[in-house]
Symmetry: C2
Subunit: 337 residues, 2 copies
DNA sequence: ACCAAAATTGAAACCGATTTCAATTTTTGC
DNA sequence: GCAAAAATTGAAATCGGTTTCAATTTTGGT
């Protein structure tokens, strides 16, 4: 049903109907109520494409999705969806050909030029991230989930990775561990750098030295956790504790420890960062896994909210949120044997 | 940059430029080439909202996302994205308030009435799924990922769940197992029903009887795998093999077996369905996990393709694909002790 | 060289809403 | 009771493309 038709049935002009539905103040309460109830009854709803053309709003937030199946993705999206449900705003997924910066840049250009989205959210930035400069120059509002060190001002929401790993490491040091290994995230990402920082600071602060041989970067997966932990534990001077980048990584680490006939929480302590996935709970692992915890879903919800604010015109330099991370101690961390 | 402006710079009419870019045959090759290269150079791209208004196409495929973090979601989406990258079609996520059919129905209505999508993909249907009837009556093209038994004709792509579990079960029976438990997916979903069918058929065919106490339905998660496996294994007449619904479930099952001092692949055999996640590989589990395997990502890619065909007008009753499932035997299945 | 047919281009209508500006009705103040 | 102000409504322009239909140019056959 079109506006013309609908308005005619009500005996009103399209103008009035449009105003009634959009909540303009110039329409009488009686009329508005009638229009609203009739719209519901007859199932009239403005053609979103016409609205967008006229208003210049795309009514959507873009999210770039790397081809490599990001495990966090679903949770984050789900959180976003929760907030956007009532905002009449869609989420637009744009696929990115993996590992190719140029393609991603091109995708952003396309998004802006064709007016497909009002804003985008970008993930896993690097310290000097070319996307940030590009989006700035294109004038498309954007929120960074994570942080960057570029001089271009940008809105961001990040968790306090440095502090999280710092506290986790301090905890291990306080338990008496002196050789601690770290299976970090992807090399070059800001979050990996921050985590490494936290790891180093904790050592320095207590006067210990980090062994570079005990630090490695890789993607978050069961497989990489296993491989690196195994390699650490088999080396000459094996660590007594391991800091893992994610619960998936921790799964692999657990497996590696067991495969060598050792026990997590006795022979080797393990602590990991937990993004809180409904299908894999740190609490339920055996032994239960000590973690630094921050809900990916909550981040998605908040990022959606902040992005809506940016679209509404909130100043970019006001939008910075650093989320503290909980430290939750369970059975997987204990004094060294 | 707008069409008017761009056309003026080329010394052509908007008409010709539009035709050149949309690949109409009436424009000379020379002109088309010039328009295309200038569009690239100057960064002109039609305002997608204007195009959509005029053509009546939304340029997007909708996917309903349940609030409960579906683990398969990201992989499927990623597969879709891969196909749609070159189709100038977006993916639109619509959040659904969990466990509420009415809300979901309302969301579909909204989608159709506001012309937001050209088609939708629905997941995890039930045998009598009200969504299918609704979408049929609304006239919105849709593809079902999974199957339903409703009399309303619909396009679908599904994997052969029945056969997968049947072969998995036959394999266990052939190894000599006589008490086999099954941790199935959510009750009421067609795929769970098909899997149960496969499980029963395998037994019947060889003249064995299924013990209803050894069958349970639940969501796919590490936690549910643990809980049910543990409960099975602690019961009076414990099973010697377990069929798990997903690799996540299998993780929990492994844990349960270990927690009772038993060994997977010796005391208890385990086999699971594997949707192929990049962060959790059946091959790498300890012991490596026997699976029925079918790539969720590939399904996403194919579903996107089929949906595009539906939008292009392909007959709904032609679009039915049943994918066979590989059976991959590894260390987790062996004869009973 | 000429005319019919084919190829190419452009003017203007249109998609379905929003919003400006003007017109009309109602309310208010005295 | 009347003028001025406020509230309410509507006509028409507009967003930025696509597509119909008509006009013009080019090509081909004799």
């Amino acid at each position: 049903m079109k506006l013309r038709e609908f308005a005619k049935q009500l005996g009103l002009s399209p103008t009035t109907v449009s105003r009634a539905l959009s909540g303009y103040p110039e329409v009488s309460e009686a009329t508005r109520a009638r229009v609203a109830s009739e719209a519901m009854r007859l199932g009239y709803r403005p053609d979103i494409n016409a609205v967008r053309l006229k208003t210049g709003r795309a009514g959507a937030i873009g999210v770039m999705m790397a081809r490599s199946g990001e495990i966090h993705f679903a949770e984050f999206m789900s959180g976003m969806a929760q907030r956007l449900e009532t905002a009449d705003t869609d989420i637009l997924i744009t696929p990115i050909t993996a590992h190719n910066d140029d393609d991603e840049m091109q995708a952003y250009r396309r998004l802006v030029e064709s007016r497909r989205v009002d804003a985008v959210i970008i993930h896993s930035p690097r310290p000097k991230d070319p996307r940030i400069e590009l989006l700035n120059s294109l004038g498309l509002p954007f929120l960074v989930h994570g942080r960057s060190e570029t001089e271009h001002v940008h809105a961001w929401l990040d968790i306090d990775n440095e502090n999280a790993v710092r506290r986790a490491t301090e905890h291990l040091l306080d338990l008496g561990h002196r050789r601690i290994a770290m299976v970090n995230g992807l090399r070059g990402k800001t979050y990996s750098i921050h985590r490494e920082h936290g790891f180093r600071i904790a050592h320095q602060e207590r006067g210990f030295v980090v062994d570079p041989n005990l630090m490695v970067c890789d993607k978050f997966s069961d497989e990489s956790g296993f491989r690196h932990a195994r390699s650490f534990l088999e080396s000459a001077n094996a660590p007594t504790a391991i800091v893992a980048g994610s619960t998936m990584t921790a799964l692999g680490v657990y497996r590696a420890v067991r495969s060598l006939g050792m026990t997590v929480g006795q022979d080797v302590s393990v602590i990991a960062h937990d993004d809180v996935f409904p299908y894999l709970t740190a609490e339920n692992m055996a032994p239960s896994l000590s973690t630094t915890r921050s809900s990916m879903r909550a981040a998605g919800t908040r990022c959606a909210e902040l992005t809506l604010q940016l679209i509404a015109g909130r100043a970019v330099d006001e939008v910075h949120e650093l989320w503290p991370v909980e430290l939750i101690l369970r059975e997987s961390t204990a004094p060294p044997p």
